[in-house]
Symmetry: D2
Subunit: 344 residues, 4 copies
């Protein structure tokens, strides 16, 4: 059973990552690649290293005239472009996995506050499902539009979920502190002075210390699960790594056996592994895994949970494929369990 899929915005890091994953997918076939900036070029002109693969012979198209036998489209586009395109594509009958932030949460005001634009399609927002399969698997299966989570929210919510779902009554402070570290690919392919190699190598810095864009989706999920008015106090730091992310969450709470709680909640989730020591980001690089280390600090009555993902895979394109698998009735791990953790 092979499903035809397409990618709009195929030449950024997440688009290229989707191409690579889908080339090895046993049940999906890339039959459409959209790129406004490279329209008309062959894929192997833009990415010469793909010359030996069938996809290299494809041509980048615009975003119109998508063949009707394509079942699902991945949107790896700017937020506002996605916001506009998604409703049109849904109307034409395509299933959509949107990797932007355009449909991740419901509160219209937050789009203005955190993203700086007015959301024009509240009725589409209503039907969008947040694509974190470890939490919303059943809803995703039935969805036509899945909003693929941001990388920081993926790492963070997977670190929080067992407590939010099964131990929320033990929480004693509504502010959850989250400090997350990200590789530079999380910021995309666009050139910036501070990401110029001589300046970024051997360097690190924190940015957007207040009001980062990923806050509303984290709070939306956290409060959907608990109804407790939780707040996420979020800090991101960029480190000199190409791909990789570690999120550390701090929850003031009463003591409980976190290790057991986490193992139980995640026991049937293939892509989650609970560790006895903190994860290394490189172990999960180039994989769809999330490695989690939960610990309770008695001195300060604080649960500290450390999670690691690859920001481009579980934090973006891998999770998008995981969502697409569910939406298309395929095995959830198809095309993803071949991405094996390693040491280097």
């Amino acid at each position: 059973m092979t499903k035809k899929v397409g990618i709009l915005g195929a030449t950024g890091y997440t688009g290229l990552e989707l191409i690579k994953i889908l080339l090895n997918h046993p049940n999906m076939e890339i039959s459409y690649l959209g790129s406004v900036s490279n329209k008309g070029k062959k894929v192997s002109e833009v990415f010469p290293f793909l010359e030996k693969y069938s996809v290299g012979k494809l041509q980048f198209e615009g975003y119109e005239n998508i063949p009707t036998d394509v079942e699902l489209l991945f949107l790896a586009l700017p937020h506002e472009v996605s916001m506009e395109l998604a409703p049109q594509l849904l109307e034409k009958g395509y299933k959509v996995v949107d990797l932007s932030g355009a449909y991740r949460f419901k509160n219209l005001q937050d789009y203005k506050t955190f993203y700086g634009f007015e959301h024009k399609y509240p009725q589409i927002l209503e039907i969008a499902v947040y694509g974190l399969p470890e939490i919303y698997r059943e809803k995703i299966k039935k969805a036509s539009l899945v909003a693929n989570p941001g990388c920081y929210p993926t790492a963070t919510l997977l670190a929080l979920y067992p407590i939010l779902a099964k131990a929320k009554d033990l929480i004693v402070d509504e502010t959850i502190i989250v400090h997350a570290l990200s590789g530079v690919s999380g910021a995309g392919r666009g050139l910036k002075q501070h990401f110029h190699f001589p300046e970024m190598t051997n360097n690190m810095f924190t940015y957007k210390v207040v009001n980062h864009r990923h806050i509303p989706e984290m709070e939306f999920v956290a409060n959907s699960l608990t109804n407790k008015g939780l707040k996420i106090r979020f800090t991101p730091t960029v480190v000199p790594i190409d791909r990789g992310m570690i999120s550390t969450v701090y929850i003031k709470m009463k003591k409980t056996d976190l290790r057991e709680l986490y193992r139980e909640v995640y026991q049937r989730k293939f892509f989650i592994q609970i560790l006895n020591q903190p994860p290394k980001s490189k172990e999960v690089a180039n994989t769809n895994f999330c490695f989690i280390y939960p610990v309770y600090d008695e001195r300060t009555s604080t649960a500290v949970i450390v999670s690691a993902i690859d920001n481009l895979v579980k934090g973006a394109s891998g999770q998008a494929v995981q969502n697409a698998n569910l939406m298309l009735g395929l095995e959830e791990t198809a095309g993803l369990d071949t991405l094996i953790p390693s040491l280097i």
Copy 2:
């Protein structure tokens, strides 16, 4: 006015950093280098790149028979070796700057809990002064034994100090969360599998999530300043950088103008700079500066302060020289203001 000084444990990273700084110091002269493992060798045999400098012709000695005209000794030694040596050296009349953890806090039990050894010299502990010059300048001037702070405590306490000193009544939660990122040199020159280049490059990981050794000195200072029973909830993450450190502290507190508070408290401190944006670790690499960015997050009523240092300079050897300057009656910035911040 030139003061003769010596270094015991001169072949680790902090020892070598001391050599480099002292070679350019206008008022200090290295006249003694101790290294048990390299005893009898010339410095230029161990560090051939120092051949062109006078120090290259020196010979590493043991820790006995230190010339009497040496005024001050830097100890860059393991904790327990320092604990034993410091009292003997003081008795012989040397001033001592100890870069280990052996004399940093007063609580004897904490040495057992956090360091795993019994402290044998409580009376020497009493006279030791904690060497954070921005806080304890006057005491350091008169001290014979200065315990040079750990790198994490330096970055963290400098980020906390203005609030602890001037706004402690605004603090509403006694637990202060601290998440600090360190370059790998902070772990020293000793070989470890996870620091082998192919495994550490492009990688990061958190370690010692509970009960890190630097907690007691941070809590000791915090509570000396406030008497409020503050607790430090501390997490360190190692990142693929040779030298550099960023500490982020989270204090639940009532609103105040942090920028103004920080500028005022630190206005006469040469090595502290208050920024309008978060610091980059590379800006302060190879310098004795601490760059600080304080911000108040109204959404969560939390003060977030980000500080950056070079873990080997302000976090170790540079601060040791700053302390020695004070102890020897020299200009506080001597030999250190020539280490200029940069971009790459």
Copy 3:
């Protein structure tokens, strides 16, 4: 058709890389893992990140008592251990791919000169086939013992082969200069001071400027192909990369159309791609590809050919699987064409 295979020396970088490749191989199954240092431990104890995979449940065994239904063994062992084990394993009927240098060339004296040991099995040396499939495909198919080439020789000989095979009469100087750059994983997992992360990051250095161990196999192949008494003047430099290798070869020769020659010779070789611009090592990282850029410099009458591989894949474990595919009658690209080139 599934073939059972085993790995001896499974816990180094090349052993682990073999495990990862074989886990995704459509026609091979790992049924035996040997490791003297980890004998008796489960794979997931040594590599916890493999817990979710079947191989994680295997146990490391010694090098005796290998099941008889294993058809082929990969030896990822020290040179002298391989030299001793290979003959015994062949006698028991296993096919062997040896990743060490023990059987790569025929001249007994060179083992003494370059490796420092006396080769004890000249008759086994005679039947060993040098495992560079782009040159010796047909011989490899029939071999019972294949000596998998070193990483430097792989990159270098693939850069040289078209000239050696088809244009040797144009060569005007018998000394071929080769300057190759390698990522640090090429030196293995063993700890060394100069590979300690703080010293190796942002650093590079040349080593073994004369008489590197990979010279005899390069000269052996070069002269087998040309019978011209060619000499390889070889320099390796280690650069701060985990995996990756670029070899540049300089041949004084008469002018010819190198681009056309290379495209023609390699037109049916899946893993070789001829580029119009110099390759980036990252494009071929984690793949079995060799990217080659040949150019003729008229100013100096010199052919300059630049080739790039991943030292652990095409330079070691990937090529070992490519050889095993041929030896076992499988598709040459099986398990390897799923390793797709990329940008990051």
Copy 4:
């Protein structure tokens, strides 16, 4: 004795490096900073990390109205801008150290071939002195215009000089092969896709395999010294390092004692150190040193010389200061011997 100097083009990497070096120079004072793009801004607005230093209060000016008490100007400008400005500045009586390629060699045709522009000032070219102090010290002392060498030529010519000067009759092939590796800062601050951190980290690639711009100055010096019609076959590779350069040169020649030759030729040159093992680029990073390792390979009758510099210091701004010291009658090492080699 303090000399007033200025920098035109002060906001690139070499301009900033000049600022840092000059701030610590005992006999020079920065009294003029020119930057067209930042004209009118205070230095500390562009480089906030310089706020604590006097230079931070300076304002960037244009390139006109330079005070007359400035004695010497450093030009860190694009080639063609330097070509135009240098004659005007000389006429006004300033001494000039030009860090561009505009005045490095004499052959007018080579400017067209290698730089793509027509040189308009052949008479100024005639008076320009090539600023490699280890070779042209006496000429530099008397020069009004010094053309500061490129980074590759500096490392390469210092590696070649003893043979060219004292053993040229032993050379048996007129083509000298040079393979040099450079950190990314050598390419400047301008943004390029392949230098975007996620793509450049853990990566390396060769570029400009034929006809690199630094060839004419290398051949000009080589032939000035030998009159032998030598040709430089030059290949540069960029590696993931911020600053650092290693050049390896290959000269076919008769045997001689290279170690002794090099030690003798360079015995009084402070910034040259002859090593018994190949240099590490990090040892000379942030210093004005050139470390050299010469070896004769008897197998191939080839002299192999490896040299290491910091491309921004000895390869640019440090050497510019060394030249300025000579031109202004100061100690050659002033402001530069405080830049001490190290390990990390």
